[in-house]
């Protein structure tokens, strides 16, 4: 049992806005919740490379190919920052990754939707990375130091991700009729899944209150979703795109956009593993891991030989 004075002192530190560091006392549940949340976040970055990676070889120009390659590489980096931050809580990376490969861990459901056309790459950058920025800007103020610092690093890179996406969205929106149709179709398919990224309503989100109490999060799912809608509706209208929501309406009183209800059946279906691409994504991860085995072996062998050589010299 942890003693309650320690727990109270911990809560006091949080309330004062202090940052918790790896060696500090923290309640077990705080540690466990963070390991769960941060490893899921790391997995999302890694699985998130797949839908876009799918288009690298088919990019329409060298410029777009360079940009996409570098974005996808950033996502790998984000995964690594986060795995490394998770390890500071005492989690073993091997176990965390095993949980992903064996289907025990969750990652963001958005990546269980397919990328059907090049316009999807544009819309993912704009909407999905746009949603990530809203969430991660909040997490950059999180109470756990290593998590917050990883987020600061990530946020800097995400602004490039969103901007390159929105640039492409804008270009296609003023392009040929086919391009306009492609981009609108992509928005139609990605809008609702992106809104689902913020998670269930506050009433149905048991973790939310606890995470807010602990200063891990500072805004609720619904608050974050609303700021996403407000920002992206404006951006859609600026380039002449429509948002596929008949209930969308500006509310003069609140200064926010009212929007329709999310299809929660679909949300839970995808979360529980029955989305269009769940199986495919996990298989791709496993395959990549297996096919990377020779690289890991080679690196080890290289290190061993270099050590031998150095020993001979001295």
């Amino acid at each position: 049992m942890e003693d309650s004075t320690k727990r109270e002192a911990f809560q006091e530190r949080i309330d004062k806005g202090e940052t918790i560091e790896p060696k500090d006392f923290m309640p077990d549940r705080y540690r466990q919740q963070l390991i769960r949340m941060m490893s899921q976040h790391a997995h999302s970055e890694i699985v998130g490379m797949l839908p876009e990676g799918n288009w690298i070889t088919r990019a329409p120009s060298l410029r777009r190919k360079l940009i996409l390659l570098s974005k996808v590489q950033d996502e790998a980096g984000h995964g690594l920052y986060l795995y490394s931050a998770t390890e500071t809580l005492g989690a073993s990376r091997q176990e965390v990754i095993d949980d992903l490969l064996n289907g025990r861990a969750k990652y963001s459901s958005i990546f269980n939707y397919p990328t059907l056309s090049w316009a999807d790459v544009a819309v993912i950058g704009w909407l999905v990375d746009g949603a990530a920025i809203i969430n991660q800007t909040m997490l950059a103020r999180s109470s756990y130091g290593p998590y917050a610092r990883a987020m600061v690093r990530i946020c800097k890179e995400e602004s490039f991700h969103k901007k390159q996406g929105y640039e492409m969205v804008a270009k296609m929106a003023e392009g040929t009729p086919e391009q306009q149709e492609m981009i609108q179709d992509a928005v139609n398919r990605w809008w609702w899944p992106t809104l689902m990224m913020f998670g269930p309503h506050d009433d149905d989100s048991p973790n939310s209150a606890e995470l807010i109490k602990w200063g891990v999060k500072s805004k609720t799912n619904d608050e974050l979703r609303q700021s996403f809608v407000d920002r992206h509706v404006q951006e859609a209208h600026t380039v002449g795109l429509e948002i596929p929501d008949p209930d969308l309406e500006y509310n003069e009183e609140t200064g926010h956009w009212n929007f329709g209800e999310i299809d929660w059946d679909e949300f839970w279906k995808v979360v529980k593993g029955n989305g269009p691409m769940n199986r495919e994504r996990l298989n791709a991860r496993r395959k990549a891991h297996e096919e990377g085995e020779w690289v890991r072996e080679a690196a080890e062998e290289y290190a061993r030989k270099r050590k031998l050589r150095q020993e001979k010299v001295s």
Binding site: E21, F25, E87, R104
Partner: protein
């Protein structure tokens, strides 16, 4: 994080030593902790650190240090550990009152 004992671990081979990465943002500035990574030896740790923590010229120099070599003071002991400095206000310039010397014009 329950490790299922029946399932063979998919990645017994990725637990290389852990390295802490410190980056120097500009010449003349001190190195700062950036994060950590796993690598089979120091040289590969450096190369990985460059690819992970300096893709946008965030560093002009990188240190990698085996994590187990770092000795840190404990957060909980912060009070007792640092309190030798508590009662020594005379180490700060504010402790002293001195006559104010004014600039003379002639």
């Amino acid at each position: 994080m329950s490790k299922d004992e029946n399932l063979k671990s998919n990645n017994d081979d990725t637990q290389w030593p852990l390295w802490e990465v410190f980056t120097q943002p500009r010449e003349g500035k001190p190195h700062e902790h950036a994060g950590s990574l796993h690598a089979p030896d120091a040289e590969m740790a450096l190369e990985n650190a460059r690819d992970v923590y300096a893709r946008r010229k965030e560093a002009v120099n990188i240190w990698v240090v085996p994590s187990e070599q770092i000795v840190a003071s404990k957060g909980e002991d912060a009070g007792p550990f640092f309190d030798p400095a508590d009662d020594k206000p005379y180490r700060h310039p504010q402790f002293y009152s001195v006559p104010r010397a004014t600039k003379r014009r002639s």
